[in-house]
């Protein structure tokens, strides 16, 4: 008998409940509409209107039903004491960090569709001299339910609900770059894959949400999964709680786990936790203190264990100005069964940032980094990022 995974079973159950609920919503809508005076008027007119009129009327609405379109551009100037080599992603100078184009719209009363594509430079150090080219890739492309009660079903390619930072797009990062632990352990693009997701509230008086996700584990940059078996999927669980400490202050705490089979048919596991305290007294004053920690156990040819975290503070002292500070730590131990001692690598990084944000749609941020990674000389670098958004731009998550 063929073994059916829990993810497949859950997907089938969700599909059936979605169909049932959609039918129920349609019936309720029709019932509600029939009882309204507006419907009564429309009904009396409907006999005089030819059947093709609705299509003609829709076509004449022009751009009314076009999706919301937004474009974001990140332009980055970098100067590092280690950035003098030939072209690579850390080379000094001015570069297009990323351009992102987003489309989003409700499809019908039951679904919303979101797509975000990113244009960025990819480098190939294996050629002589090193070469680069621009690539245009789907960052997130998913459909999300609108009509399911108390839960949201998502299907497509999306950023996995692992911690807080992994969910952010580059233009919404608190600093110019992602934390070391995220880049090293989750990958340059983070944990982002094709699958489905179900998020639901716990019936509690505060915000308490659980998200269950099942991913293919075959996405770009997910070398730590890539199971040889097509039936093995990656499971992600995220629990998020948020409490209002006062009208102006909130405390958010989350725990996350992700696991899936790797190319050695062993299980790669991630664990993470995040904590954020946010205080906003007015549009001119805010303070955010955040920390995020994660660890990865990756048994392959060697038993690798990596763990790291970042803690940062962001302070807004006037309508347009922010100052920020961040400290980071990362340790990766690689235990070869044939070796007596594990091989360990430590990295530490400190960052300071000043941000000038003239409006919701543009920003200028200057960041200084001091990064030690075991090499003789620490890296010191200055980053100047210009951030521009045009068109429709959805609000960022709290």
């Amino acid at each position: 008998m063929t073994r059916i995974s829990w993810a497949t079973s859950l997907l089938v159950v969700l599909f059936l409940s979605f169909v049932c609920f959609s039918v129920e919503v349609v019936s309720a809508d029709v019932g509600a509409a029939q009882s309204s005076p507006l419907f009564a008027q429309a009904s009396s007119q409907s006999t005089q209107i030819p059947a093709q009129v609705p299509q003609v009327a829709m076509a004449s609405r022009g751009n009314t039903f076009n999706p919301d379109i937004g474009v974001n551009g990140l332009i980055l100037f970098r100067n590092s004491n280690k950035g003098h080599q030939a072209a690579n992603e850390n080379a000094n100078g001015l570069a297009l960090q990323e351009a992102e184009i987003q489309f989003s719209s409700d499809v019908d009363p039951y679904w919303r569709f979101v797509s975000a594509f990113a244009l960025h430079q990819e480098f190939d150090a294996t050629t002589a001299p090193p070469s680069s080219e621009y690539v245009f890739e789907p960052e997130e492309v998913f459909a999300e339910s609108l009509a399911l009660p108390l839960m949201t079903l998502r299907v497509g390619k999306f950023k996995a609900a692992f911690g807080r930072h992994n969910l952010l797009h580059a233009h919404a990062f608190p600093f110019v770059d992602a934390p070391l632990a995220h880049v090293t352990l989750l990958g340059e693009e983070g944990l982002n894959d094709v699958g489905f997701s179900l998020a639901a509230f716990f019936p509690l008086p505060w915000f308490s949400e659980v998200t269950l996700q099942s991913l293919s584990g075959r996405g770009e940059g997910l070398e730590y999964f890539q199971s040889p078996s097509a039936n093995n999927r990656v499971s992600v669980i995220h629990l998020k709680n948020l409490w209002d400490l006062s009208d102006d202050m909130t405390l958010e705490w989350g725990v996350s786990s992700a696991n899936g089979q790797n190319s050695y048919s062993k299980t790669t596991e991630f664990l993470g936790s995040d904590l954020t305290v946010k205080w906003r007294a007015s549009p001119e004053r805010a303070l955010i203190a955040s920390m995020e920690w994660l660890e990865r156990t990756r048994p392959e040819a060697t038993n690798e264990k990596g763990m790291g975290g970042a803690a940062w503070v962001q302070y807004q002292f006037s309508r347009r100005w922010w100052v920020e500070a961040r400290g980071e730590y990362l340790e990766v131990k690689d235990q070869d069964p044939a070796a007596l001692e594990p091989h360990s690598e430590f990295q530490r990084k400190q960052s300071l940032l000043v941000g000038f944000i003239p409006s919701e749609f543009s920003g200028l941020r200057l960041q200084y980094d001091h990064h030690t990674d075991g090499s003789v000389k620490a890296e010191q670098r200055i980053l100047l990022q210009m951030n521009y958004s045009i068109g429709a731009h959805a609000a960022h998550a709290y």
């Binding site: 919503v25 509600a32 309204s36 009363p109 919303r112 999300e144 609108l146 009509a147 399911l148 009660p149 108390l150 839960m151 949201t152 639901a200 509230f201 008086p205 505060w206 915000f207 949400e209 998020k240 948020l242 409490w243 209002d244 009208d247 909130t250 958010e252 906003r280 007015s282 549009p283 001119e284 309508r319 347009r320 409006s359 919701e360 749609f361 045009i390 959805a394 609000a395 998550a397 709290y398």
Partner: protein
Amino acid sequence: MSQLTCFMTVLFLALPLFAKLNVVATTSDIQALVRAVGAEQLNLTVIAKGSQDPHYIEAKPSYMVKMRDADLLVSNGLSLEVGWLPSLIRGARNSKINPGARGFLELGSLIEPIDKAAGSLTRARGDVHPEGNPHFTLDPMRVGDLAVKVAERLAELDPKNRALYESRARTYRDQLVTKTQEWQARIQASGVIKVITYHPSLNYFLQRFELIAASHLEEKPGIPPTAQHILKVIDTIKREKIKWILVDNFFDTKIADRVAKDVPTSKVRTVGVAVDSGPGLATIDDVIEKLVQAVEGK
């Protein structure tokens, strides 16, 4: 089946008959308007408090919890909440309050707005609202008409209290008509015709009472004023002999104070532009009364 079981079953089935409608209002003004119509028949909660600038509310997940169980969401519309309400509605996962559903009532779509953006729309013009000025709750006549619309929707969702909602709405509208005539007479008696405001949020109030905003301290809505623009405002105040610079409660008075220092004949008044934005501002009538007093110089 025992008598107790029968009693408990009947009580359980009858519970919805005693349940109050859960209503969420996006701003304190809308909360006050809905309260005037629904009173104790509703469980009424609010998102943006009167002391907060409703353009810049953060979409806190705790607001989603408030909206999770709502039967009705009453919003301002005209893009006032565009930065935060859509994500709250999605996060609440309550299809009863999705746009287009009966549990979603956008008041801005029920009025004739002023200040509709003309010409080519670009964000170089600042924080423009393409559909018109969203601060219509400062016009008592529009508020009175909206009370009737709110009553209609409450009656649809809670038919057993229809008569109560409709009668309260009519009474409230009539009271506002009478008060508007009194306020109009007082403003005419004050002799004030032109004022300076910080942001176009007072435009409905000014239009209703035939006052003119000679200039705004913000050159473009939502964008902090430039020094060059402030010099122009100072010239306007001197030329037009304007007495009052009215600053909304959620803006800093620093710039207005500097202007008043340069033109000693002008005076700065911080005015509450929303319900609960200050002491004694529990209703929309209170807010209008204080604005009228500010124009009178009381």
